[in-house]
């Protein structure tokens, strides 16, 4: 008993009157409705979780570096692939020899290619085309895929039709679609974008549709429907937030896959006419096993791999972070 009294303060010791110590508070109905909880912002939490992992900062820095090289470097440098075309001694050079010949600067750190061009410059000009294409294709396919997939998942009538369409389109060889389109139009950048998006969205739509079907009939949505929430609002407020992490993860696999696909198509001779990364790899294929020429082949391969890996890891980790269950 005495020990407990020690920790308590005796009010009479303070020398204040009762009125000074206590004041009466009116009961307010409005105030009592307020819930005191820390302020929660979804996207701020996503980035807080994302940056909690130190590795993500490193990867993001690498990503920024790649973007700088792909978009700023070609603007500030003047690259002409045919500048040394007539100079026979400038072709297929190792980095050391190229630097001895043209001087020590960043252009020649990867040596010179088949027409005496700087491999380093060629790689970044190529990746600008490849990365731009991947971003545009992903943007188009993801937008169309998500919208169509949401409708597909909600409406049973649409589902019956779209499943057949999916079965049919899924069986037409993708290479055939692309090559026919490349033959109809010329093999330019926008043809490639068109070819990759004209049927590319359907796989994404199917994936989203499956996710929507899973979430659609959950109890909270049933309750929401019983309370009279319109379908559109259910889709936007109940289902879309649930799928943010799925969508981000999907984007993480989509963007690198277009780069890979472009490389693949160029390799089998159906790529675009621009000097993309894929085309660089295709043209330098013979250099792979030729002693002294390997840099021409491995540089675009390694850069393409770094780009796709960085994009993939950033996307995956962002996808993990955008799952609200990791925010605690």
């Amino acid at each position: 008993m005495s020990e407990m009294n020690k920790s308590l303060v005796d009010l009479s010791d303070l020398g204040l009157s009762e009125e000074e110590l206590f004041s009466h508070v009116d009961h307010s109905k409005q105030e009592s409705e307020k819930i005191t909880a820390p302020r929660y912002s979804y996207w701020r939490s996503v980035f807080r979780v994302f940056f909690r992992k130190r590795i993500n900062i490193v990867i993001l820095a690498l990503f920024a570096l790649i973007l700088a090289f792909t978009y700023i470097y070609p603007v500030v440098t003047d690259y002409n692939p045919y500048a040394n075309l007539m100079n026979a001694s400038a072709k297929h050079l190792l980095p050391s020899k190229a630097m001895a010949m043209f001087g020590r600067n960043i252009h020649w750190i990867l040596g010179a290619g088949a027409s005496g061009q700087s491999t380093f410059d060629a790689v970044w000009y190529g990746s600008r085309i490849s990365i731009t294409m991947a971003f545009i294709c992903a943007a188009i396919n993801m937008t169309v895929g998500i919208v169509v997939g949401a409708i597909w998942g909600f409406s049973k009538k649409v589902d019956a039709v779209m499943t057949q369409v999916y079965n049919i389109i899924g069986n037409v060889p993708y290479i055939l679609f692309i090559s026919v389109l490349v033959l109809i139009f010329s093999a330019g950048f926008w043809t490639m974008v068109f070819a990759l998006t004209v049927t590319g969205w359907i796989a994404i739509a199917y994936f989203i549709r499956t996710q929507v079907v899973i979430i659609r009939d959950r109890e909270y949505n049933l309750a929401s429907r019983c309370l009279g929430t319109p379908i559109f609002r259910i889709a936007m407020k109940n289902i879309l937030p649930f799928m943010t992490s799925v969508i981000v993860t999907l984007a993480a696999t989509e963007i690198p896959s277009y780069i890979s696909y472009e490389v693949f198509l160029s390799y089998i001779g159906m790529g675009m006419s621009d000097m993309s990364l894929g085309r660089l790899i295709y043209q330098a294929e013979n250099a792979m096993l030729t002693p002294g020429w390997q840099f021409e082949f491995w540089s675009p391969v390694v850069v393409a791999s770094i780009i796709t890996t960085v994009l993939y890891v950033v996307g995956q980790n962002l996808g993990d972070a955008s799952d609200p269950r990791t925010h605690m």
Binding site: Q164, N167, I168, G170, N171, V172, P173, I175, L176, F177, S179, V180, L183, I184, T253, P256, I259, S260, V263, F264, Y267, I268, G269, M270, I281, M288, L289, F297, V301, V302, A304, S305, T308, T309, L311, Y312, V313, Q316
Partner: protein, 523 residues
């Protein structure tokens, strides 16, 4: 279940037909026809009217149009007896200009116009191009022909009705003596004494309709053949199905006794004898060896067929993938977030993120350093040269299987039945390998038929990088050479395989997991 399956199969057949129709529209209607002449030296060298006629003739060969030249129509009339041979020779050549036609010719030219225009054809007459007033310019001869774009519906019906052909005794056009089938217990190819049942036809396309030999599957037939589509450029006149399934490589010779009794060391496979009219009389070589017009034989070769190589590599790769990926996936999920899981994840990310071309080349470079053969050589086939293609194919599928197995097993680990099993005193090993794996493997089982049938298709990049003579590059090659018949045929083949593997996957899944039922209406 049966009812459901029949419905599924009908739907699938419908979607296959639509796929073929789409492909036909793509290649016959949307693609620029002029492209087939891009690398055609004959076309470049021709000039004037001959160039135009050649263009239409080639279009007919590639299957774009129906093309009938005037002289061919006249010859047809003569063959069917509507006009006499004298009339034919009188009217077969047209004048340099319409005004210069003789009255008889003009009459038949008018008939030609009437006949074909009433059938929806367009008739084109090209007047002679003159170098001087008397001399016709090079390739400038006058032309008269009718042509019509083939309609999609007709093309589709023709394709699917001609898809399977059954050999019959009315095939041979010439005089072959008494037509009919004979059954023998002693195949004459083996000298007529050894017991070997065979059905031999006379008047049929193939001489041996059913026969036995020492090769797998020992009993062979030539009665029913599949026509996927004829090639015009890559492998002229040969059906895709045959291109895919004929053995390749060097000749294997053995002592062959020909029907005449002539014996020599040869690679001819007499069982493959096919009818070609008048071929026996055509050369002394065939006269010495054959007694009838069944002289077109295939040679025995040492290698496998295109599909054979693709299948051997593909099936071993998928077997390897399942054998390795399942234990690895289990270990990864058991040691979640430990070192082994992290190493596995790095590997998966590497395979998923890096372009497949890049890592196949990486494997090739590593194999080259290890002293493995990096190119495939059919003539000196060794087991070692299969290693790199198989590894290149298996490693990505291992990553893919590992990824999904790990995901499914981790999802199952929190299930109530696992907690119950653990509280019941089962060891972790037992829980993982007997309970969790069984549930987690169900979605993977769905993919087994696809990976087996997918091995038939071949792998484009792997086969190209290691120069494997497989089936993977058939489609890309056909597209590059505008080989329209082959494109359609290969697409149909792919579509049938993919549809079948999905249905088989569903059936297999419902057999393994009794909870999955396709016959109930509830979804």
């Amino acid at each position: 279940m049966t009812k459901y399956l029949i419905k599924r199969i009908l739907y699938s057949i419908f979607s296959i037909v639509v796929v073929v129709a789409i492909v036909m529209v793509l290649i016959y209607s949307l693609m620029d026809r002029q492209l087939i002449f891009a690398q055609d030296p004959t076309y470049t060298n021709l000039g004037n009217n001959a160039k135009v006629a050649y263009q239409y003739r080639r279009w007919e060969e590639f299957g774009y149009i129906d093309y009938v030249p005037y002289s061919e129509w006249i010859a047809d009339l003569a063959r069917s007896g509507q006009i006499t041979e004298e009339e034919r020779s009188a009217v077969t050549s047209i004048g340099r200009k319409p005004e210069k036609d003789s009255p008889e010719t003009a009459e038949y030219v008018a008939k030609f116009y009437e006949y074909f225009e009433s059938r929806g054809y367009a008739v084109r007459r090209l007047d002679a191009v003159m170098a001087t007033t008397r001399k016709v310019a090079n390739g400038g001869n006058q032309q008269l022909f009718a042509y019509k774009d083939k309609p999609l519906s007709g093309r589709l019906i023709k394709y699917f009705t001609g898809f399977i052909s059954v050999d019959n005794i009315h095939f041979a056009s010439g005089d072959v003596g008494e037509r009919g089938l004979t059954f023998t217990l002693h195949d004459p190819v083996y000298g007529g004494e050894k017991f070997a049942p065979a059905i031999i036809g006379n008047g049929t396309q193939h001489k041996y309709l059913l026969y036995t030999d020492s090769r797998f599957p020992f009993l062979h037939q030539n009665l029913v053949s599949v026509n996927l589509g004829k090639s015009y450029t890559v492998n002229q006149g040969v059906d895709v199905a045959e291109t895919m399934s004929t053995p390749q490589g060097s000749y294997v010779t053995s002592l062959v006794t020909y029907p005449t009794g002539h014996t020599e060391l040869s690679a001819d496979d007499l069982h493959s004898a096919r009818y070609i009219e008048g071929s026996r009389e055509a050369s002394a070589v065939t006269r010495d060896r054959f007694v009838d017009d069944y002289t077109n034989v295939i040679t025995v070769k040492s290698g496998l067929s295109k599909i054979g190589y693709s299948f051997v590599i593909g099936i071993i790769a998928s077997l390897m993938a399942y054998v390795l990926a399942v234990p690895l996936g289990i270990i990864m999920s058991r040691h979640k977030d430990k070192l082994i899981d992290k190493i596995g994840t790095i590997y998966i990310v590497f395979i998923l993120a890096v372009p497949s071309l890049a890592y196949i080349f990486l494997f090739k470079a590593i194999g080259y350093k290890l002293g493995l053969p990096t190119t495939f050589d059919m003539e000196h086939a060794t087991r070692v040269m299969y290693i790199l293609p198989i590894v290149s194919l298996a490693l990505p599928s291992i990553a893919n299987l590992m990824k999904w197995l790990r995901r499914f097993m981790i999802d199952q680990m929190n299930a109530d039945y696992v907690k119950f099993a653990r509280s019941g005193g089962l060891s972790e090993n037992e829980i993982f390998s007997r309970h969790i794996l069984k549930n987690a493997a169900i979605p993977l089982i769905h993919g087994i038929p696809a990976s087996i049938l997918g091995a038939l298709v071949g792998a484009i990049i792997t086969e190209r990088v290691y120069v494997v003579p497989g089936a993977g590059n058939l489609l890309t090659k056909a597209i590059n050479f505008y080989d329209n018949g082959v494109i359609v045929g290969v697409t149909l083949f792919y579509a049938v395989l993919s549809v079948t593997s999905i249905i088989l996957g569903d059936v297999l899944m419902s057999m393994v997991d009794p909870r999955i039922s396709f016959s109930s209406k509830a979804r």
